[in-house]
Amino acid sequence: MKVVVTVKLVPNPNAEKRIDPENKRLVRAGVETVLNPYDEYALEAALQLKERVGGDTTVTIFSMAPDSLKEGLRRALAMGADDAVVLSDPGLEGSDVWATAAAMAAALRTLPFDLLIVGGLTDDSSTGATPGALAEHLGLPCITNARKIEISDGAIEVERETDTGYQTVRGPLPALLTTALTFAEPRYASLKGIMGAKKKNIATKTLQDLSLDVPVGAAGSKTELRSFAPPPARGKGKTVEAADGPAGARAIFDFLAEKRLV
């Protein structure tokens, strides 16, 4: 079985984020990147499937990222993925969620897979729309928020979390899945994994390798960033040392009363 996992490289959440005032794009140069947290869970699900199904099951990472970031994918390879494919092209710069999904779908069409596992949400753009968009482009069943996966006879059975409980869903393969954060904690790369990852293959595709019927990049995008600003400053407020429980409670109560919150 062939499993493909989409992984985005996102700025470290602890790093300062800047948007270039000239081109209004997130400055990624010089900012440390990490694997998008949701995608680590997606990868963990894929690796567990590989361990369970065994045989000739392979896990391939797919990412759309500038060439300069692609070495960051070694971390995913160190966790246990077999190889990686990166879609990288200057013509993709400035792609919004529409253009990104169109380009990713075109690239994914060139990769054979039985199961495509996508993260639920990115840390930087956080649209959460990519899984649905890819499913629609690729004509795949879209089973989101999975916490348990069984594969048998070309079919997939998934237990998925809903807002109010859970459902079991059965569908054919190929299919697209996203994983819930309850699936399992992503594993750490072992030393052996880290060493082995150095020799694994990261293949690059460019727009020329795809047959795309829509423009992508900034020109193909359907949205345009007009302006951005930091949120209204939230300064350090008051600090009150509470002598005892009642004094602490009184301090909070008076504060809330002043703000008309009680």
């Binding site: 999904a101 753009s125 499913a135 995008s221 600090t239």
Partner: protein, 327 residues
């Protein structure tokens, strides 16, 4: 884009507050676009939601109580919404930014070849563009993003962004034509667990507990009574969820929920960046922490340094007493 279509997400006619927030705002946006607002209501037993929506300024409410909507994933909903969009013509489609709302939005974006902006808290019409305000990068930046002129646009809206106000309802409820289709992935069983809890994202007050609570019991004995007194809901840090003290659906932060209540009280939470991004946009933030140097103090309106086990019960009593005097 001329009209506005609200996707009235519901489960057997039960809907979240965000649906009514969208219903309240849709008319204003439609007026600015020079069109009309419409709602789409789908699924078994949803007629009563359609009835409720007649109190809002819609021109029409398109309804289909197709029971099959519950048998499949979101496929039928996407098909019905696309059919409604075609029938109503160029429009901006408002979808709640919920777990399933996000899936619907991504699929509809592709189906309608529409532009899309996510997690929007404000929509303005500027000439022939629709400009959406949304926090990005965990709230580190607030962006204004324009949907370029096109037939369709899709927007997911953050709960608690718009105020609910009923007014001028004259809408007709009209049937949306039945699409009898079958889909590959089928729901075999559907289990409800603890749905009576107030949805965390919609609660006007959130009382969140962290590792400082030391175990599962204080969530019930300490935080729940305070949340009840304030008419709010209980949330948690990841440390508390990871420890198994509370279910993951109470986790707030980067890998949990984003909440924007009028009042957020963090109890025994240190205030890591991954927690902060899920609650920083709350109205008023109060922290109770033993440690005067806890990072949460840097972005709280009030930090009370002390023992949560002593402070919280007293606070609950004060609030209950005050409420008793007013009623």
């Amino acid at each position: 884009m001329k009209n506005v279509i609200v996707y009235a997400e519901n489960r057997r006619g039960q809907s979240r507050k965000v649906t009514f927030e969208l219903a309240s705002e849709a008319g204003k946006i439609a007026a600015a676009l020079g069109g009309a607002a419409h709602a789409v209501v789908l699924g078994p037993a949803s007629a009563r939601l359609a009835d409720q929506l007649t109190n809002y300024p819609f021109e029409s409410i398109l309804l289909n109580e197709d029971p099959e909507v519950e048998s499949f994933l979101l496929d039928p909903i996407v098909d019905y919404l696309a059919a409604a969009a075609e029938r109503l013509g160029p429009s901006l489609i408002l979808i709640p930014n919920t777990l399933s709302g996000r899936d619907v939005a991504g699929r509809l974006m592709v189906r309608l070849r529409a532009g899309m902006v996510a997690d929007v808290v404000e929509v303005q019409v500027d000439g022939d563009a629709v400009v959406c305000t949304s926090p990005k990068l965990g709230g580190a930046l607030v962006t204004r993003c324009a949907l370029r002129p096109a037939d369709y646009g899709v927007v997911t809206v953050r709960p608690n962004a718009f105020a609910v106000a009923t007014s001028g309802g004259t809408a007709r409820i009209e049937p949306l034509e039945r699409l009898a289709k079958s889909y590959a992935a089928k729901i075999e069983s559907d289990v409800e667990e603890g749905s009576s809890e107030l949805a965390l994202e919609e609660a006007p007050a959130v009382i969140a507990g962290g590792r400082g609570l030391g175990g599962p019991e204080p969530f019930d004995t300490l935080l729940k009574p305070l949340a009840n007194a304030l008419g709010g809901a209980v949330g948690a840090s990841r440390a508390a969820a990871d420890a198994g003290w509370v279910p993951y659906n109470l986790q707030i932060g980067q890998t949990g929920k984003t909440v924007t209540p009028a009042l957020y009280i963090a109890v025994g939470i240190s205030g890591a960046i991954q927690h902060k991004v899920g609650m920083r946009a709350s109205g008023t933030i109060v922290a109770i922490n033993k440690d005067a140097a806890a990072p949460i103090g840097e972005f709280s309106d009030l930090l009370v340094v002390g023992d949560a086990f002593r402070i919280v019960p007293e606070l609950t009593k004060l609030i209950e007493t005050a409420k008793g005097q007013h009623s």
